[in-house]
Symmetry: C2
Amino acid sequence: MVEPQASVERLERLTGMLRRRGIILPAFEIHGGAKGLYDFGPVGGRLRSKVQSVWRDHWLSQGDVVEISCPTVTPFAVLEASGHVAEFSDFMTVCTACDEASRADTLLEAHHANPDALSLSDLQALLDDVQPPCPACGEASWSPVAAENLMFDTVIGAGSSGRAAFLRPETAQGMFTTYPAIYRHFRERLPFGAMQLGRGYRNEISPRQGMIRLREFNMAELEYFIDPETEAPHDLSPWASTEVQLVPAEGDAFAASIPTALAQGVILHPTVAWFMARTHDLMLALGVDAEKLRFRQHARDEMAHYALDCWDVELHGSYGWIECVGIAHRGCYDLEAHEKATGQRLRAWRNYPEPKVVEINGWTIDGAKAGPAFRALAGQVKSKVEALGPEASFPLTVVLDGGEEVLVEEEHVKRVQRTETVAGEWFIPHVVEPAFGIDRIIWHLLDHAYEESGSGEEMYVRMRLHPDVAPVDAAVLPLFEKEGMDTMASEVHRRLCGTRGVLASYDGSGSIGRRYARADEIGVPCCLTVDHTSLEDGTVTWRDRDTGEQTRMSVDDAVRRLAAP
Amino acid sequence: MVEPQASVERLERLTGMLRRRGIILPAFEIHGGAKGLYDFGPVGGRLRSKVQSVWRDHWLSQGDVVEISCPTVTPFAVLEASGHVAEFSDFMTVCTACDEASRADTLLEAHHANPDALSLSDLQALLDDVQPPCPACGEASWSPVAAENLMFDTVIGAGSSGRAAFLRPETAQGMFTTYPAIYRHFRERLPFGAMQLGRGYRNEISPRQGMIRLREFNMAELEYFIDPETEAPHDLSPWASTEVQLVPAEGDAFAASIPTALAQGVILHPTVAWFMARTHDLMLALGVDAEKLRFRQHARDEMAHYALDCWDVELHGSYGWIECVGIAHRGCYDLEAHEKATGQRLRAWRNYPEPKVVEINGWTIDGAKAGPAFRALAGQVKSKVEALGPEASFPLTVVLDGGEEVLVEEEHVKRVQRTETVAGEWFIPHVVEPAFGIDRIIWHLLDHAYEESGSGEEMYVRMRLHPDVAPVDAAVLPLFEKEGMDTMASEVHRRLCGTRGVLASYDGSGSIGRRYARADEIGVPCCLTVDHTSLEDGTVTWRDRDTGEQTRMSVDDAVRRLAAP
């Protein structure tokens, strides 16, 4: 997407300011840097942790969600089961002149509307046809296109006992691998959710767009487990009069409330609607500009095959509309995949409205004979045998799920014929997953809050961040660093920092106007100035970032106001 | 260390409970697990984030400390500069019978008092002599002992343009690589600190001792930058009457206050003493048992060669005394190492008390000629030439720090002879680093809080966690799940969860006594019961975990009490 020149220049000024003021900086810069890796610096670090904290509180307040924390180093088997080993890849080609790797679809962006939807062979054909120049050296000589897995790989342990592993591509898998503990924790009652904040990794072939495409990023995901046969209990009425922008998979974009879009059948599932509504609130609580937020539904061919509905929250900023949150109904895909790979039960129990009387007329195994005969496979043989009708006759060859053929002799089995009362059944819960890219959200908070006025040398910058995420809560400024104003300002500064949840900065150098400007630039919501009057009556002036209004108040009042939750 | 049987059994019960209740669990267990990797489960996740939050607030409250956040994936060059590529290793040997890798010192623990201090050749000799059996297979046939680097390695990028990288072994390097931004942020005024919470990685050869030796762990480090020639401003008087247990490098353990130990010259630096005192407060605020905390000073041969003083905080628990925090005066080692490797200035400016008049009599380079001649090396040539006396004559071969020999001709240089007024000088700040192992601290919080009474079937467990770190703040219990008590309890539960900073659980199943026990076991500080009276007058009973006392109060009062910071 080509942006107008003014936007490009604004983006450059914003990026420059973020770097100069220690908000977001290229990582390892003194060592020459590393593409796709960023630091949150001395100002940005707290912005990040405040955003995480607002996110955490928002979901915990739901009352049926817990937080977990799992390792980032993940054994091969886990990500093989999840499908990432097979499918977490991009199509890559390497410049034969300079050895620089590129994404094939990126090279072809000017020549196709949607190159990342092309198959390998279509991409290859288009690449051969177009012969785009290498962005690094300008030559146009490319190796054959191939799928490149995007996980960082490593080895757990040393020597030949080392095991292949990856850095997790998402935090979500942790909620599936610990599902038994979560199910137990909630005393086996659906619905419930588990969430995790932490790092995710994606070894991008050629990162670009600053904070949008990172190789290591801050994620926050929530997996909400539901019974697909139970009606969702969510009350959407509080959102009945809140219109949001919706871009459905088919038809035109429109504005409607989330409950209306659900009633119209555009949003396909009430739990998806619930998380869209709650996510909308969260975005606004963080300070996202409501006009620059829209929900975009995935088209059928854009979703994973198992997904039942999927909406992105897109935020608009310097890079156009960018996906920052995905809210997906994933069906039973994930738990089923891990169940298949491990043989562990990852299910929930559902009681029937009335116990059922079931007639059992068929076969089971005779443990005493079949156990020694089939050993580890005995459990699988048992379920195959129990699935046979009364007419089966032995010896009989059964085929197990893993493909093994097993000969079952008459002595291994016995007839069963009885009725049983069954109270309920095991089933695999469905999952609705809101997944958040914290870095992308932070980027847009900054982009939306960044306000320039004037121009050239006279340009003034005010960062209108929400106080809940502002990296510094107050700046304490002695009018002059003498006559005791510095001492009193230091005391006020110390007192504020000693107040739980409050971080203040002390700034004594330059004119007051210059210091206001420094504080406004990084979004400090208020400046407290200690002047001559302060020394006499113990007051300070409170200057509001957004209005510029000044109010004189006692230090006690200022502390109280900042400490209020 | 051999522990008495009772302790071993208590440890097993504690570990079992942590796992059963979803506090700490072996990671990826459904996939067979992975040694040295643990999950914080549905209860432990919040314990972890509350501990991190108390840690963060404690240090930010100092007013001269900022938080940053850097990537875990770290380019080779950074960790080569820091010394980790060369020195972050253990001595390994591999069983030639079963291929299992072991640490050589661990195999020899029964045969030497301190095998991890032995050199490679001494370890080899002792191994040859003792021939210990392999812990995996029992054979005694070992490959030659060799140093094994303990960093997880990976590659940034794809194809031949990929760059070697590691997962960071500590978070500290981030504070050094971003030093220029931190220095700028603090407007170039020392002292100041920067800290980071996050994952660290150590690919242990054979992990053991549960949460004590992890391959991926939660760290929290603070680097405090000081001017070695300025007197430290710390006021230690608030700690004058707090005795702590001290184990000095030489002489016997003793109890004294930290300021006394500093005055006696046992603690070698006031900033180290300051961080010992502040760390002591933090440990107690987290709920560490003061009787199970001691400070142990490193012996000269135990410290890194550059360290000026180093004290561990050791906590006592099921594994004996364990290092959980290290407080080290690291001199100028780290910044100097990165400065050498990168050629970037990682320094601070110090004004002289009075400007100095300096006579310059020697040589400098002639940029117009020397620039094209020496190109990238011109800066280094300049400093070598300027270090020469007036008697130098050209052509002259100078040797650069990297070992390159450069021939400097007469045309490349010019004589300088003048006086200059110099206001101050650049110097490399010294660093005092308190480094925290968050998992080890959490382990000891649990170990110290875990209280058993009774025995066998009658055993009762109460986890006396500090309310600031308790994973659940309150349990809401309807006396019966009927007659509206369940509805009212759900409302109280929802209201508590909706209160910022409060997480409540709802438990409706089993007798009240059983439910109290479940809450006590994971350290919920209070249970709020909704009974028949509640329905009439809107009160609940507040039962205190530690005393068992019950108080009837209005729901409003209960919410207020829990919301209080």
